[in-house]
């Protein structure tokens, strides 16, 4: 395996009773890479992501995340990754500054570090006048940008983003990707799921999961060539249409 890989997944499987949610998947992700994790609803993306972030134990197989074993070192994994999803990101009834301090503490930063870095982050996000406002009163686009910044506040090796741009306006969606590029340039590996097919093109490499299996894994350009498709959209339709397992049945 490649020494630069921060995610090394080998023959990972998760079964729930007789149902195999994730079926023997293997892949590596390099440091600083933007890795798109695509698939239809019910394909097994969330189950795979929960295993990689140390929240769920695999039935078979193994993965090394930021140097730690997902069977033994789940607590260490949690300290070395960031996580953000559209559904849960910030506490609405805490202020902007309190959210940053709270998550900084959760991710194990020292009090001193938090004291110094909090105003810097607030300033960088242009939220100086909003620092003491409740997060619940901010527009969604601001919340999402803040949530992402909080998830990488402790400079993790990897950040997992589960549909981070769902429902945000088209300009904010693009600004959000500017932040992702910036994080990737600073060496943070970005592992991201999305339902926007145009966003798949921003990734260095993408996987397409179908029925718990990885059906394709390559750069967007190579995938288009491989499937003789004009767009990633077409590649997705080609692969996902063949899915036997509908989200409905899971």
């Amino acid at each position: 395996m490649n020494q630069d890989s921060v995610i090394k997944v080998k023959n990972l499987t998760k079964r729930f009773g007789s149902f195999t949610a994730v079926d023997n998947i293997s892949f590596d992700v390099k440091k600083g890479e933007i890795f798109g994790f695509l698939g239809a609803n019910g394909a097994g993306k969330t189950t795979a992501m929960r295993m990689l972030s140390g929240l769920s134990k695999p039935t078979e197989g193994n993965a090394i995340i930021a140097g730690y074993d997902i069977h033994k070192d789940t607590e260490k994994i949690k300290r070395n990754i960031g996580y953000m999803s559209q559904k849960f990101s910030l506490y609405e009834d805490l202020t902007v500054a309190e959210n940053i301090q709270f998550f900084g503490g959760i991710y194990g930063l020292s009090r001193e570090d938090i004291r110094i870095k909090t105003p810097l982050l607030i300033h960088k996000l242009g939220l100086d006048t909003e620092a003491n406002m409740l997060v619940g009163s901010l527009p969604l686009g601001w919340k999402q940008k803040l949530a992402f910044s909080v998830a990488i506040f402790h400079q993790p090796e990897i950040v997992f983003l589960d549909e981070p741009t769902g429902g945000v306006d088209p300009i904010t969606r693009r600004q959000f990707w500017d932040l992702i590029y910036e994080a990737s340039d600073s060496g943070i590996t970005v592992f991201v799921t999305t339902h926007y097919m145009d966003e798949a093109a921003y990734c260095n490499r993408i996987t397409m999961m179908v029925d718990g299996i990885i059906k394709a894994l390559d750069s967007p350009a190579n995938l288009k060539e491989q499937f003789k498709a004009e767009s990633i959209d077409e590649v997705f339709f080609e692969l996902a249409r063949g899915a036997k397992r509908k989200a409905d049945l899971t």
Binding site: A40, E163, P170, Y181, D198, D248
Partner: protein, 305 residues
């Protein structure tokens, strides 16, 4: 064509007027059309749906639904509309079959009477008819909610973000289903944050911060873009974006995944300007072509105004 829904100057604010959720919203929908309300989260879509389905009163304005007055005939309106909220609204501890039965009873009808409307959708649900609704997958819950919203044969069906968080293939199937309901004569008002879905609608309203920015057919919105749009590509796309944004002849430049979409403010040909620029900045493997704007291009342009 007959107008089945006429909305006039509806406004709504929250938090003692501090949050203007809707500002003087007006539009009309023709009987048998699919009308799309397209905008991001927080634009006011759900507030508008709650008002039009008689669950909330507007601060100002009124509407006529299927000949009934929104403010005075709300009880009659409730029998003539179907509503599928964004959040799952069926009874989690009733089975699939019991939920459907319950909604039919509430509307003084039977499942048999209008079964033809839901037959195709219910077909996929029937293997699970004895399962409690709370135990269904997301896709199945959505189908059940749609069946329950249709069982009393409403004249107007309101669907609040039915495809949010749904993958691209399932979204396409859902829109095909709506197309077939339209052919059964049901008028559909549907909201979505996905701009590409606009093309399935007869008319669309683009909504942002509680205001409608434009109403037209999808083709009409696109024709209102009013200037040439170019797709540009190069090997290093993030570098290209930064460099283009610094050029004075570039009016707007947004990333659209595989290409950047660019408008220019110069009388010179875009191809010439771009090739000079590419030469100057040593940009490799570049390509420029004139393209038709998408609804998302139009939305961004309207937002910037």
């Amino acid at each position: 064509m007959e107008i089945i829904l006429k909305v006039e100057n509806i406004s709504k604010s929250y938090a003692d007027g501090k949050i203007l959720a809707l500002q003087s919203i007006s539009f009309q929908v023709k009987r048998g059309d699919i009308f799309g309300i397209i905008g991001p989260d927080g634009a006011g879509k759900t507030t508008l749906f709650r008002i039009l389905t008689t669950l909330m009163l507007p601060d100002n304005g009124n509407a006529t639904l299927n000949g009934q007055n929104l403010l005075t005939d709300f009880k009659k309106i409730r029998n003539q509309i179907g509503y599928m909220p964004g959040k799952f609204s069926n009874y989690q501890d009733l089975t699939v079959e019991e939920n459907l039965q319950f909604f039919a009873n509430v509307f003084n009808t039977s499942v048999v009477e209008n079964y033809h409307l839901i037959a195709e959708i219910y077909d996929q649900l029937s293997p699970f008819k004895h399962r409690r609704a709370g135990q269904l997958s997301g896709g199945m819950k959505q189908k059940l909610a749609l069946c329950c919203a249709l069982i009393h044969k409403p004249a107007i069906l309101f669907l609040d973000e039915p495809t949010t968080g749904v993958d691209a293939v399932s979204r396409k199937e859902f829109w095909e289903m709506l197309e077939r309901l339209k052919h059964q004569g049901i008028t559909i008002i549907v909201s979505t944050p996905y701009m590409d879905e606009a093309l399935h609608c007869d008319d669309i309203a683009l909504i942002q911060n509680g205001k409608i920015m434009s109403i037209h057919t999808p083709a009409g919105i696109i024709s209102q873009f009013g200037e040439d749009l170019f797709a540009v590509k190069a090997t290093n796309m993030s570098q290209l974006l930064k460099l283009l944004r610094n050029e004075t002849w570039v009016k707007s430049c947004f990333s659209f995944g595989e290409a950047h979409h660019v408008t220019i403010n110069s009388s010179q040909a875009a191809e010439e300007l771009f090739s000079q620029f590419a030469l100057q900045k040593s940009i490799l493997d570049w390509k420029i072509e004139k393209i038709e704007p998408t609804i998302e291009d139009c939305f961004i342009k309207l937002m910037e105004k």
